[in-house]
Structures are given as C-alpha cells and as structure tokens.
C-alpha cells in the first residue's frame, strides 16, 4: 500500500549536487560547521533537507533525502568536524534504509523498508507541523510586544475587615480561668471511705464460705454504711470476685447484659 513514488521519485531540483547547506546559501566550511551545530537533532536536519525539495512532505522523495543527508554528513566528516553521535546513527540508519529500498521486494525483511520510510515521512510531517505552528504562534500579537495591558492600573484591593466576636460570658469566664490558673491553689485531699481490693477479697471469700448457693454480688456489700463506701465496695468486690474466679475458688454467672452478677464457691 505504500506509495512507491513517495520513496523513489526524486524531484529534479532537489538533487544532492545542487544542495549546498541548509539555511544559509554559503558553502564555506565554517558555515557548515556552525549549521550542524545549530540543528535540533538529526530529525530537525532531515526536515530542513526535506523542505529543500520544495514539495509537500507527503510527496517527499525519501531516497533523495537519504542522499542529501548522507552527503551532508560525509562532507562534514571530510572536513574532520566533530559530529554528534546521533547524527552518525541516523546516517547509518538511512544508508541501511536506502539499500533496503533498492533491494528486490521479495528479499525485504520485516518491517519492510517502505514501512520504515513511511514512518520517517510521518515523523517529518509531524515535526514540520509543529515547527510551523510554533512560527505562527510566535507571530501572533503578543502581550508585552504587540499589545499592552494598562501600564499603571490602580489595582483592586479587597480589605478584609474582621468583625470580632466575644460575649459577656466569654469575657467573664476567661477572667475566671486566668485567676484560677494563677491563684495559688490549695489542694485538699479528702479522706474518702474506700474498701481496698485486699479487704474485698478477704470479705468475699469469707462470705462465700458460709453458703454453697449462688449469691448476688450486691449481697456481699456492707449494708449500713456511707453510700460512697458502698460504691467503692461494689467495685472492689467485683474485682475480688473476678480474682477468686481466676484462682478457681469461685464461679460467676450473669443471666443478661447489665443483669445481676451471681457467684458461688467452687467445691474443693
């Protein structure tokens, strides 16, 4: 499907002999060196050479282009100029492409040289399109070069004004907190009636000894005592019951969540 003409037909005016250096018509050696230095890579050089064929890139002669490129590199080499490796790689690849294109079709490898040539042409087209686009972009009326914004705008200022919020309670409470924080504080540790864990263990195990039946935990508490002592005793007795159960001296049972807790002695 490849268009053979694309590869093989060289436009007359684009022979390598007529070409004497891209961009500048001068063929002197210094110019050649400088120009090689100025290319943005081998594809860029190829594109410029292709443009010299003065045809649409779709109709470019790849063979002629290969000749131009190789000729260019050979001239540079003849002048013993430093040539970056990627230019030489491209030259070698193009030489390979050229020989493959000239081979009879049935001896061609895969990918076919026509495919490689077409891909090269597509790449050149794309780079060419971007180079043209860049030129058109740069030629637009550019801000700061062709068009200008106002030289001395007054500027829009948005002043944020804070409306502070605080109420009477906040004020008075804050003062209270300050005084509280900085006043010398006398700590009075009140003597609260408590039942220690040891006392609870003694008490619960002693009481377990008198019965074999299930007893509710609360029945272990001292009956007529300060309510605060009873709260402490309930907590200690519960822990004591757990401890006795752990030691295998009691078993515990609870019918439902938050229901009364029962315990009884484990028979030895």
């Amino acid at each position: 499907m490849t268009d053979d003409g694309l590869i093989l037909s060289a436009p007359d005016e684009a022979t390598a002999d007529e070409w004497d250096g891209p961009a500048a018509p001068s063929a002197n050696d210094a110019a050649l060196y400088l120009e090689l230095d100025g290319w943005e890579g081998p594809l860029d050089l190829l594109l410029d050479l292709a443009r010299r064929q003065k045809v649409d890139l779709k109709a470019i002669s790849i063979l002629a282009l290969v000749d131009q490129y190789i000729h260019y590199i050979e001239r540079a080499e003849a002048l013993k100029l430093e040539i970056a490796a990627d230019y030489l790689v491209m030259a070698a690849w193009l030489a390979y492409l050229k020989s493959a294109l000239l081979l009879p079709k049935d001896e061609q490898e895969d990918p076919s040289p026509e495919e490689l040539a077409l891909r090269l042409q597509l790449r050149l087209e794309r780079l060419g399109a971007m180079r043209d686009a860049a030129a058109r972009l740069m030629a637009r009326d550019r801000l700061g070069r062709d068009v200008f914004v106002r030289g001395a705008p007054e500027g829009l200022k948005i002043l944020k004004k804070n409306q502070w919020q605080c109420d009477w309670y906040g004020l008075v409470h804050a003062y209270g907190q300050v005084k509280l924080r900085t006043q010398p504080v006398v700590h009075m540790v009140r003597d609260r009636p408590v039942m220690t864990l040891d006392a609870a263990i003694d008490r619960v195990s002693a009481m377990l000894g008198v019965s074999l039946d299930w007893m509710e935990l609360r029945s272990f508490l001292p009956v007529h005592s300060d309510p605060r002592l009873r709260r402490s005793a309930l907590a200690s007795s519960f822990v004591a019951a757990l401890e006795l159960a752990r030691m295998g001296r009691a078993e515990m049972r609870q019918e439902e969540v938050f229901g009364p807790i029962h315990l009884r002695r484990v028979k030895a």
Binding site: F148, K157, Q163, Q165, G170, G176, V223, R228, L234
Partner: protein, 201 residues
C-alpha cells in the same frame, strides 16, 4: 459609537499603556510629533461619561477610575471571627485591671502575650493605648474603650462581676472542688436509678 480616528486611538493606547502620567509634549514626541491636544480633548469628552476618565493633573494626562466608581477599588469585606481564648483572657485582664501594661498582663496570665493579641483587641476597637506608666521603662498602658462597654452591654466597668461573684457563680471553682460538688450532688439527689445503693436502700 463612531470610530475615532487613528491619532485619537494612538493617544488613547499610549496613555493606557503608559506607566506614568504623560505631558502632551511627551505624548506628541512618542507619536512622531503629532499634535495631540485635539485628540486629548476629544478623548476626555468621550470618557467623561464612562467608568474611566481621562484627567489632566499638573499638565500630565492619565486615565483613572471615575470618581463615583472609586469605591470599587477598595472593597471592604466583613468577616465574623471569634476572639481567640488568649485574646479573650487579655481583654478580660485589661477590663478588670485597667490601666495595665503588657508586662502586668503577662504577670496575671502567667504566660507570654504575643504582640498580635493586643493588636487584635485594638483592631476590634475594645482596647486602646491609654498612655505610659511613669515608671522606669515607661511601659505603654492599655485600657478599654467606650465601644467595649457598649459591645458587652455594660454601663461601666463597675458592672463587671467581682471576684466574689465569680466564685458564687462557680466560675472560679477549682476543678477538683467542682468534681466533689458534682459527686456530692449525685448522692444527694440520687439521679441515677441504676446506682446500687439506690436499689439497695
């Protein structure tokens, strides 16, 4: 609107892009010696009705926002903000102890007060500098403003509750005292039917 001629447009563009007001001579020099007084007068008349005016100040010409649009250049945006705890404390201290220096505020608070805190209170219009204390170093002293009284609904500073009243209201109770009161009232009122002692009794 009829199309202005090119010289008028050139003067317009030149003044628009200029970074400083320009005299007629400067504009003229810029435009290859063209006579610009006519165009300037025409532009001035054209813009007179617009949101932007062409004005001459001391022989220099410039565009500027129309005076009745000047308010657009500076817009105030109010935002409600709660006073921080630090600022509230400082405000309270100023109110209870005024006039008071920053060192005294810090002494009462027991912590350093950042410079921004008093600024906030002054921005809010509640605190002002009252003067300097005639002691070595002449520290600035702060006091509250009439705005402070009206904002907090006070007739005078004497309306602020005293320490004793704060105590009575529970605002000065130390934390563990408050806890004991809470515990005591629990037992007194038996508010929790699940309490074992409540069941038992």
């Amino acid at each position: 609107m009829e199309a202005p001629d090119d010289l008028v447009r050139a003067v317009e563009a030149t003044l628009f892009a200029a970074e400083a007001p320009m005299t007629a001579e400067e504009i003229s020099a810029h435009l290859e010696g063209a006579e610009v007084r006519g165009p300037l007068a025409e532009l001035q008349a054209t813009y007179a009705l617009r949101g932007v005016h062409l004005v001459e100040r001391g022989k220099r010409w410039q565009f500027q926002t129309a005076p009745d649009m000047a308010h657009l250049l500076r817009r105030e945006k109010e935002q409600l903000r709660r006073l921080s705890r630090a600022a509230t404390e400082v405000l309270a201290i100023v109110a209870y102890h005024e006039p008071v220096s920053r060192a005294e505020i810090e002494g009462i608070r027991g912590v350093q007060t950042s410079a921004g805190t008093l600024d906030v209170l002054m921005e809010a219009g509640w605190v002002r500098v009252e003067g300097r204390r005639e002691v070595p170093g002449r520290p600035v002293i702060y006091a509250t403003t009439p705005d402070f009284l009206s904002h907090f609904g006070l007739k005078s500073r004497r309306d602020l509750p005293g320490i004793d009243e704060l105590k009575a209201a529970g605002l000065l109770d130390p934390v563990d005292e408050a806890y004991d009161v809470a515990i005591g009232s629990d037992t007194a009122h038996e508010p929790e039917p699940a309490e074992p002692d409540a069941d038992e009794d």
